[in-house]
Symmetry: C2
Amino acid sequence: MGELNKTKCVSCSEGLPPLAERESEELLKEIPEWVIVSEDGVSRLVRTFTFENFREAMAFAGSVGELAESEQHHPKLVTEWGKVRVEWWTHAVHGLHMNDFVMAARTDELFQEL
Amino acid sequence: MGELNKTKCVSCSEGLPPLAERESEELLKEIPEWVIVSEDGVSRLVRTFTFENFREAMAFAGSVGELAESEQHHPKLVTEWGKVRVEWWTHAVHGLHMNDFVMAARTDELFQEL
């Protein structure tokens, strides 16, 4: 996954533009399990992780939540029996920021450490 | 909320019919903060709980998850900054079972205890 997972979030301000599509597509190569999904015109990075049961899914969601708090960058987490869908995007830019790719790579890393 | 919150889940089998609409509407009066939402033809009980921040939302999702494990009846939990959407339905009946109303009432109780 390149070096994205070694990176920390940077602060980003309201009104900045989101990443250009070309930049996003390039970064996506480093996190090939993720897809870009547009919801209400806002691009998000989305990946669904699967587990053996509800308890493992909840535990993973909790770990991603702790990562989110540590960086003060927060995803949407959809937890069901045996799966967690994680969605990263940046409210301040109404779309994708480098931070989202960093967080996606670090989410992958959490999953690999299980 | 009547006595729903004092009730435990009962076991239910594949192939049983879901509750009739009339029964669901009657039970819904006991949990007035919830709405019935149909997704892919399957009715679900849905309520969104709001919080001051991400950490409180995660903590509540965790509590609902523990309740779910204790009853072995599992919801969909959609956690974002400041909110958790909880969805209860019963796979085995492809819709709503009394258990879902019990779990919704007990979810309300968890929220009231915060």
